[in-house]
């Protein structure tokens, strides 16, 4: 009866109510005959992503013989939409979540544990699985991933006779050399949002810093790199108000010779063919280190709607979005990295320019692997510390202590 109430509130069709009450749904082999349509919510609201995602969704819908009702919202509003839908019991059958938010939502009990419904995670990169695992269960499956690396303008570097940097010292030096006139050596985002935190993770993690101990010298040293770049004038003071999109605009306008950024920019960058660029991994502090960057990208999850037949079809659907073919398809078209590690070679054959990102992903880390749903607190401390240090209010050494005091 309770289930019936939920369904009625959700305003779903009578057929689905019947299906739910008749208790169909026995895991991944559910009879899809009773379920004719799934609702999907994601934040790929603009092109080209919008239509590329749509194509992938459509092909899986066709395979399962169902139709889709897809809703897209702008990224910043996704969680809010999810909360509204949760409180009115109208969550979609299939929900896309940014990977650091999977555990946050899983904690509320709103998501179906996929591993209990026969979904295998074999062959997926560990970092991706970490991000979607809460309390021992896997709640989401992420077909493709992105990360951060160092873009550089090949023409500017060649003209200045500068090699792409591999260490922080080289990075400081290259950035200083490349700074002249209207042109800064490097652009990055140190904005007071999670975006600023995300961009700081390559230096922090590469240097051995960890979110469980933000006042460690390794973290402070990483922050010092950002401070040095800004204080020496190799990066603009405006980085504290730049999003990653701004950092990219600066780079493409020839106002920065290098930038820290991700592969999602590549389609837009290709539209401006007179800027030539290449990518290397993020530099290391000393040669013994391996560059470690964060995993980005979105996982597909199945909310608990109470309708087991639909849930079962939704699980099949999420599996379908993660088949090797679909991963490769999206990876190639969207300039992202397939999360099944054995696909890397096939992928690079089609997208050789993604080599640096593929390497970077191999050692990438999930933001929520250690702290789980507590990650946002640490992330807030990180961007606040960056702001304090880059505005000169405290030294890099003291910034984290001061920011965590809040």
């Amino acid at each position: 009866m309770k289930r019936y109430m939920v369904m009625a509130a959700g305003g779903m069709s009578a057929a689905l109510v019947l299906a739910a009450c008749s208790g169909g749904g026995d895991g991944a082999d559910a009879d899809t005959g009773e379920v004719s349509s799934l609702s999907v919510l994601d934040y790929y609201n603009n092109d080209p992503d919008n239509s590329l995602i749509q194509a992938g969704l459509d092909s899986c819908a066709e395979e399962l013989g169902i139709t889709l009702e897809r809703e897209t919202v702008p990224g910043g509003d996704l969680i809010q939409t999810v909360l509204q839908q949760a409180s009115s019991q109208t969550l979609p059958d299939v929900l896309m979540l940014d990977n650091p938010e999977v555990q946050l939502i899983a904690e509320t009990g709103a998501l179906l544990p996929l591993d209990e419904h026969g979904v295998s995670t074999e062959g997926f990169a560990q970092g991706v699985i970490d991000a979607s695992t809460y309390d021992g269960h896997v709640y989401g499956l992420q077909p493709v991933a992105n990360t951060l690396a160092l873009f550089y303008n090949t023409d500017i570097l060649a003209e200045a006779g500068v090699e792409p940097p591999t260490t922080w010292d080289e990075l400081r030096e290259a950035a200083a050399t490349l700074t002249e006139g209207d042109q800064y050596g490097i652009s990055f985002s140190a904005i007071n949002t999670y975006e600023g935190t995300w961009q700081f993770l390559p230096p922090m993690w590469t240097n051995g810093g960890d979110e469980t101990d933000l006042t460690s010298p390794e973290v402070a040293e990483a922050l010092q790199l950002w401070v040095d770049l800004v204080e020496s004038g190799s990066a603009s003071e405006s980085v504290i108000n730049w999003s990653q999109g701004d950092a990219k605009d600066q780079f493409m306008a020839g106002r920065a010779a290098m930038m820290v950024n991700g592969p999602w920019n590549i389609p837009a960058m290709n539209e401006i063919p007179d800027v030539n660029w290449d990518v290397v991994q993020f530099p290391v502090n000393d040669a013994s280190q391996t560059p470690v960057a964060p995993f980005g990208g979105e996982a597909w999850t199945v909310p608990v709607t109470g309708d087991e037949a639909s849930q079962a079809v939704a699980v099949d659907f999420v599996e379908c979005l993660n088949t090797p073919e679909q991963q490769l398809d999206w990876a190639v078209s969207r300039y992202t990295i397939p999360t099944r590690t054995d696909l890397t070679e096939d992928f690079l054959a089609e997208r050789p320019e993604m080599a640096a990102f593929a390497e970077q992903v191999a050692n990438a880390r999930s933001r929520t692997a250690q702290l789980g749903p507590e990650w946002p607190d640490a992330a807030t401390v990180i961007y606040e510390a960056i702001q304090l240090a880059l505005t000169g209010q405290t030294s890099a050494d003291e910034a984290f202590a001061q920011a965590s005091a809040r």
Partner: protein
């Protein structure tokens, strides 16, 4: 309504023969003020004509304008523009229909609880929009008003009605109760004296309240985002957000759409502004 005919005559009398030069100077000053005030709008137009959508490398004047952004905006946002217009005009009509009688009553009738009512109206303006939007979402879900134009009109009216009441009431305080008394002595009922006397006399206030109601509804994003779940009904503000992806923002298309969508609306507003008449109340008492 012999009431307002005297106004132009007054104006003509005030303006002498040697005033032409003064008027030219005033116009020049007006254009200059507008140029300063609207510079950011110009800068937005400039950005919309850059292929990159930003002005990082832009000159003061777009010497090599690119119209790609406009081509895209026109082909993708035309229908949304119509939706926005319908919603904004619908909100104006609905809000004014409810707010005008109420503001007349609050201005002219000596209700004991006028103060309380005004406080309640003011408090309603203090509530964050997001709180209202979230509450409406739950209510609409049950009533089937999600994804509907009436739903959005009603939602936009939430902020417009109290606003319009406050504005129109403050103007209607200036309507001499003598006029209304006089009409009633002549045997006019309350409704008739409201429609035939108060409304014409207060037309400045009504137009002004209508202008801002239009603007509120036109620029609404929050309700549109919260109360629509499909792309059947999509006001242009929401259309603009489709160019602002989570990771990639197409500012060129955003700017072009904003410019494009503002054009029909500004024509409407300029036209409405011309109907704000001078000295209306004064004339009426005569």
């Amino acid at each position: 309504m012999t009431t307002t005919t005297s106004a132009p005559a007054e104006l003509n009398r005030r303006t002498g023969d040697d005033i032409d030069l003064r008027k030219v100077l005033l116009t020049a000053a007006g254009v200059l003020i507008l140029a300063v005030m609207l510079f950011p709008v110009y800068w937005m137009v400039n950005a919309s004509l850059q292929p990159s959508g930003n002005t990082l490398n832009a000159d003061l004047i777009p010497l090599q304008p690119s119209f790609d952004n406009y081509v895209r905006a026109i082909s993708e946002q035309g229908a949304n523009l119509v939706t926005s217009l319908i919603i904004a005009l619908g909100t104006v009509v609905f809000s004014l229909a409810l707010a005008a009688p109420a503001s007349f009553a609050l201005a002219q009738f000596r209700f004991r609880w006028v103060g309380v009512a005004l406080l309640a109206i003011l408090v309603s303006q203090m509530i964050p929009g997001i709180v209202i939007a979230n509450a409406l979402y739950s209510a609409y879900e049950g009533m089937g008003l999600l994804n509907s134009i009436p739903g959005l009109i009603l939602a936009n009216s939430t902020s417009a009605i109290p606003f319009a009441i406050l504005i129109m009431r403050s103007f209607m305080l200036g309507v001499p109760s003598a006029i209304i008394e006089a009409a009633r002595v002549d045997g006019a009922g309350l409704v008739r004296s409201f429609l035939w006397i108060v409304v014409p006399v207060s037309r400045n206030a009504i137009i002004t309240a209508g202008l801002f109601t239009f603007l509120f509804a036109w620029s609404d994003f929050l309700f549109a985002l919260t109360l629509t779940t499909t792309d059947e009904i999509r006001p242009v503000t929401l259309g603009i957000y489709q160019y602002l992806g989570t990771q990639v923002q197409n500012w060129g298309a955003v700017m072009a759409t904003a410019v494009l969508s503002a054009t029909p609306a500004i024509v409407l507003l300029v036209a409405a502004q011309k109907y704000i008449a001078a000295g209306a109340t004064g004339g009426a008492v005569k």
